[in-house]
Structures are given as C-alpha cells and as structure tokens.
C-alpha cells in the first residue's frame, strides 16, 4: 500500500506520563526501602515463631509482617517502578478489577474447598487425610538440617 510506510521514527519513549520521570537516585531510595521491608518480613515471622509463646499473637505478627508488608511492597513497586500513579486511570481500575475477580473466585469456591464441613455436609476424605510427609522417615531431620 502506498500509505503503508515504514514506521516513522516514533520510537520516542517520551509519551505522556514520562514527563514525571524521576532521577536515578529516587529509584535507588525506593529500592532501599524495599530491602528494609524485606528484612522486616523475614525477621518478623522468625521472631514470632521463636520468641512469642502466645499462638494468636504470633499469628497476628506473621500476618502483618509477612503479608501486610508484601502488600506494601507490591504497592511501592506498582506505584514507583510501574508508575501507575501517572498512568491512565483505567489501567489501575483494570488491575484492581482482576484482583476483585480473584476475590470473587475465592469467595465462591471457599465455602466448598476451604472448609471440610458445613451446613448438613461433611467432606470426610479431607477430614481424614493425613500428610504423608509428616509421618514418613524423611520428616524433620532432613528438612531442618538445611536451615
């Protein structure tokens, strides 16, 4: 076709949101914060398992340090490395919609899979099930040795 030209040199990466680009030092600072959070997310649960005797408290600590921090880390990557803040709004909505969809899936499937008994039903197979890895000879000895 006459009007099908070779791509004009429109390879400029400079489009819209790139005007908000940061200096390299900014990204290195974000990386530093991410590393600090990584340390917390490893140290928190380790401490919870070794120091805290109350099971509920330990569980809450693990929940916040492992998963709470994972969410914060993810948010920082999405915001600062993927520049979602200066991206078109619908991109954010799209990603959130996908996450909501997964929430919906878990919400719909959970009542059957997550629990083993409910309103007039029992999943006997799941209740009776024992982990083969627990009772076998290759139990704690091998696994713990590596830590």
């Amino acid at each position: 076709m006459s009007d099908t030209a070779h791509a004009p040199a429109s390879t400029d990466a400079a489009h819209g949101h790139d005007a908000h680009a940061h200096p390299d030092s900014f990204y290195i600072r974000i990386w530093g914060i991410l590393l600090v959070m990584l340390v917390i997310s490893v140290a928190g649960p380790e401490l919870a398992h070794r120091v805290v005797s109350n099971e509920t408290v330990a569980f809450v600590i693990v929940l916040f340090t492992a998963f709470g921090i994972a969410i914060v880390k993810a948010y920082m990557v999405v915001k600062n490395f993927m520049h979602i803040g200066v991206e078109k709004k619908y991109v954010g909505y799209l990603l959130i919609a996908m996450l909501v969809l997964m929430g919906l899936m878990i919400g719909g499937v959970g009542p059957d899979v997550l629990r083993h008994e409910g309103h007039r039903w029992v999943n006997q197979a799941a209740k009776d099930y024992k982990l083969p890895g627990d009772t076998g000879h290759h139990g704690d000895a091998h696994g713990e040795a590596k830590h």
Partner: protein
C-alpha cells in the same frame, strides 16, 4: 495484491499448487488480518466436519444401538465416550470460538474501525499458528493408544485425572494440552483485538460510533481474558495429576475434585457469553441493515452487554448444584442465574424494537438473524428451569440440559455464523451468494434443528439420562415411545447434516462462479463497505477513512438515500 483475499480461501481449502513463488509467504505466513481471518474461518469449518461426524456416529448408536454405523463401524462404549467428548470440545473450542471471535474479529475489526491491519500483525499470525497447532494436537490424540479423551468436555476429575478411570491416559493429556494451547492463542488474539480497537480507530470515530459487533467482540475478548486464567492454572494442575501423579484434585491425596469444577465453570460460564455476545453483535448489524432502521437504543445494547458480562462472573456454580456444593451457595447462584436472563431478554427486546416499523427485507442473512432471536429465546427460557436449583436437581444430567444447551449454542455457533458468512460474504470474496440456495439451506437447517431438540426436551422431562451408551440396558428409559423419540431426533439430525451440503456447494460455487459483488451491495453504513470487495492488502486504497457519524443512520429524514455512510462528511448532505 488486491486478489490476495479472494484467493485465500481456495488455496486454503484445496491447497492446490500455486505457481506464485510467494504462495507460502502470501497465504500461510501472511500477517494480513484478512488472510488470518480466512485461515481461522476455514480451519473452523474443517473442525465442524469433525464435530458433525462425531455427533452422527453417536446419535446413530443411540437410535439404533449396536448397529454398524455407515462410515464409522460399530460404536463401542469407549468410542462412545470419546465421540461425545470430541463433539463437545470441538464444537465449542474449535468451531464457535475460531469462527465467531477469531475469524470475524480478525476480519471485521480493522475494516470496521477504518485502519489497515491489526496493531500486532505478527502476534496475530502467531495466534493462528498456535491455534492450528492445538487443532493438530487434538486430531493427533484420536490416534494414540487408548484413543481420544473420553471424560466429557468438562473433564471432571477424578475421571479425567486417572488413566485407570478414563482409559485414555495419553489422550486425556493431549486433549488438555490442546485446550491450553488454544487458550493461549485466543489470549494473544484477544489482547490484539482490544488494543487495536482502543488505539487505532479512524480519526473521528468516537466510542459510540463503533459498530455494535466490534464492541461485542471486544467485550467477549475481555470476558475471555478475565475468566480463563484460573482454568489455565487448573489445566496445569490437572496435567500434573495425570502425568506426574500429584493429587490436586484427588481426595485420596488430600485434594478436592470440586475445586476443578469451580475453576472450570468460573471460565465455562463466562465462556457462554464470550460466544453469545459476538453473535448478538452480528445480529444487530444485520437487522439494522435489512430493516433500514437505526438500531433501537445503541447505548442500552452496549451497557446491557457490559452488564451481562459482569453478571456472567457471578453465576458459574449453577452447573454444580448437585456436585455437593454448599446449599446456601446454591441459593445465591440460583438468584444470580435468574437475574442474568434480564439483560439478555433486554437485548432481545431492543432487537424487536429495531424491527418494529422498519422496511424489512427477508434476505438470507436477515432470515438467519431473525432465526437467531427466535431460537435463542427458546434456549434462554428453558434455562430458567435449570437455573432454579430445586428444578435442576431433577433435570440435571438429563437430555433436558442437552436440549437447553443446544438451543443456546446452536443459534450462537451456527445460526450466528451462517448469518455472518452470508452477510459479509460479498465483502470477503467479492462475489454474491446464491439467495435461493441460501434460503433452501436456511429452512433445511432450522426445521430439522427444532425437530432434533424438541424431542430431547420431552425425553429429558421424562428423566432420560444423558450419559448412557445403550438404552436397552435401562428398561425404565425404554418405556412408551421414548426410543421412538430418539430415532426421530436422529433422523432429523441426518436431514440437518445433509442440508449442510447445500451450504458448502453454495459457498464454494459462489466463491468461484458467483455474481460479482459491488463494494456496498446491501447499502450499509459501516466502514467495511466503503472498501472495495474484496479489500486489498491495506484495506482502503483510496486512503484510510475519516468518520463523521454513528454506524446506524438508516432512513434519515433529511436524506434521499436511505443510508448514510459513516465516512460521508456532513457537507455532502443532500
């Protein structure tokens, strides 16, 4: 170059030697969206033969158990399982999906939004090649030891997970692999469609100037993309269950088979709307053109389609009412299932509103479009019985479900496709199809279609179970005339299949010998009719069009012509 699209089909169909050096580059390795569309279309038609042949073989077995089926031989119990599984999966994944979404999407999107190709032509080619590979893997699975997969198209574990149960160890895995490849192909294609429509519309074409069929294909692509992920994950897990012996879905190993059913239907139900919406879009295009009237409530159709899409994610567990799911969840899913009939019914009313007061022309595509509305309506109404969990407990796994399902999918996959092919045929091949033979084919399909499935509704209501190979072993299901109904349905099927020959003859005869078509034989508004028939590589030799108005400005009172192409500037108003 201008004959590229015109020749694409016969080379694909016959594969005869072509002295053109660039044959492979032009037809098999092309990045042109029209050629890729033809590749999808003819692969889909070829796969429809497999789907049609399998249904012929197993329906003959049901009607005349133990007979040697002409062209197949004796159908054994294992064969029967493989035949029904192949019929189901081929018709949905290898016929409805490639024809309605991939072929029409590829053909129509760049033309209807006024650009020269998809935004990622090579990705598009890769998408077709993956699809072709998936078809080859599926066909190859018929010939491996044990034969083709026989665990039904839903592939429920533990039946599908263990070779001891399904008796088709390798066949099951190949089936799963083929389905996964096909999903990958449509994911690539879908992303291509979405970005093309978002970014490459003709100058002046605003959101609400996009033809409904393009909108529908885009919404369908988004639905597909959003729903298929968990099933891809589930397919990997099931493949590991089959080949490595893991226990994701095996209760004896701590797994949960109901999880697969959830993952499957989380995709499987939106999938119904993935194929329904493009068919609805095709019908919208056709009824506006052939009633010479503006589409009644464009935005309503659009918002309704989006609403249907959103709601389709909330209904999946209605397939599992007797699978042992939590009864309170069954109540929730009953309500959402009944709710989703509202937007679909709304679309049907909008189409009837469009027809009202129009000057209707009963051409072949219009007949198909009207038949779609009527037959799909029956399918939708019978779905109400199955969506209500109380009634479903009785109807589940009977032929009532089969009949309901086919009253929705046959209109979608076949009536919709025939409507599209007959309507866009002049554009695709630059020739007109024969109207008389088109109408013969139409009545020869619609009448036997109803004759097949109305008996199945009656059988299902009498408790006829769907997974039985030989009814002679079940005296309760052989009572008073039940076998006669089966024979009647099977004979009607033979008539339906025979009439498809009319279509094929008409198709190929018209491609080669048909009357030459003008650029805009139906006097339609949308952009594809402003391009030559067939459009050359690059689509619009006179320059890419600009758009000045919506796609449905028919019988405008200020104009002499009863149509007003989207590309015509306002100054040209007569």
């Amino acid at each position: 170059m201008s004959t590229a699209a015109a020749h694409a089909e016969h080379d694909h169909a016959h594969g005869h030697a072509h002295h053109d050096e660039g044959f492979i580059k032009k037809y098999l390795w092309s990045t042109d969206h029209k050629i890729i569309a033809m590749q999808y279309l003819f692969t889909g038609i070829f796969m429809a033969f497999i789907g049609g042949f399998t249904v012929y073989a197993f329906r003959m077995q049901l009607a005349f158990p133990g007979m040697s089926v002409p062209g197949y031989g004796r159908v054994t119990a294992t064969d029967y399982n493989a035949l029904v599984t192949t019929h189901g999966s081929v018709m949905i994944f290898w016929v409805a999906m490639p024809v309605l979404i991939a072929a029409l999407g590829n053909y129509l999107i760049p033309l209807m939004i006024g650009c020269d190709d998809m935004v990622f032509p090579r990705l598009n080619r890769l998408s077709y090649q993956l699809f072709l590979l998936s078809s080859i893997v599926l066909i190859a699975s018929f010939y491996v030891p044990g034969g083709a997969f026989g665990g039904a198209w839903t592939s429920y574990p533990p039946l599908s997970a263990k070779a001891e149960y399904s008796l088709t160890g390798l066949g099951s895995s190949m089936w799963l692999f083929a389905v996964a490849l096909e999903f990958a192909a449509f994911l690539l294609g879908g992303i291509n469609f979405i970005t093309t429509v978002m970014n490459s519309r003709a100058p002046g074409m605003k959101m609400f100037d996009v033809p409904i069929v393009v909108w529908m294909i885009i919404i369908a692509s988004i639905l597909f993309m959003a729903s298929v992920g968990p099933l891809i994950a589930g397919a990997v897990m099931l493949l590991f269950d089959q080949q490595l012996g893991t226990g994701f879905f095996d209760p004896a190993k701590g797994g949960d088979p109901v999880l697969w059913q959830h993952l499957f239907w989380f995709f499987g139900h939106p999938e119904v709307y993935v194929v329904l919406l493009p068919a609805m879009g095709i019908v919208a295009e056709i009824i506006t053109v052939f009633s010479r009237k503006k589409l009644f409530a464009y935005k309503t159709v659009l918002y309704t389609a989006i609403g249907t899409g959103v709601l389709s994610f909330f209904v999946w567990a209605h397939h599992q009412f007797i699978a042992g799911i939590d009864p309170r969840m069954a109540n929730v899913f009953s309500v959402t299932t009944l709710l989703i009939s509202i937007p679909v019914a709304e679309m049907v009313f909008v189409y009837i509103g469009t027809l009202y007061g129009g000057s209707i022309r009963l051409t072949t595509p219009m007949l198909w479009a009207l038949a779609f509305i009527a037959e799909f309506l029956l399918g939708g109404v019978t779905g109400i019985f199955l969506g209500a969990s109380g009634a479903d407990i009785y109807f589940h796994d009977t032929y009532f479900v089969i009949a309901h399902f086919h009253y929705t999918f046959f209109p979608i996959a076949f009536i919709g496709s025939f409507a599209a092919i007959t309507y866009w045929f002049p554009k695709m091949f630059g020739k007109m199809m024969n109207e008389t033979w088109g109408k013969v084919h139409f009545w020869g399909t619609i009448i036997p279609f109803n004759a097949i499935f109305i008996p199945l509704f009656l059988l299902g209501a009498r408790g006829d179970h769907r997974r039985i190979y030989d009814y002679r072993h079940f005296p309760d299901l052989m009572k008073a005339g039940m076998q006669d109904l089966r024979v009647f349905a099977t004979l009607a099927l033979l008539v339906l299949l025979a009439f498809q020959v009319v279509f094929l003859v008409n198709l190929f005869y018209s491609i080669f010998r048909g009357e030459k078509a003008s650029a805009n034989p139906w006097n339609a508004n949308t952009l594809e009719w402003q391009a030559p028939s067939p459009p050359p590589h690059g689509n619009f030799p006179q320059g890419l069009p600009n758009v000045y108005r919506g796609p449905y400005e028919y019988s405008h009172p200020d104009r002499q012509d009863d149509y007003w192409p989207q590309t015509e500037p306002d100054a040209a108003k007569s």
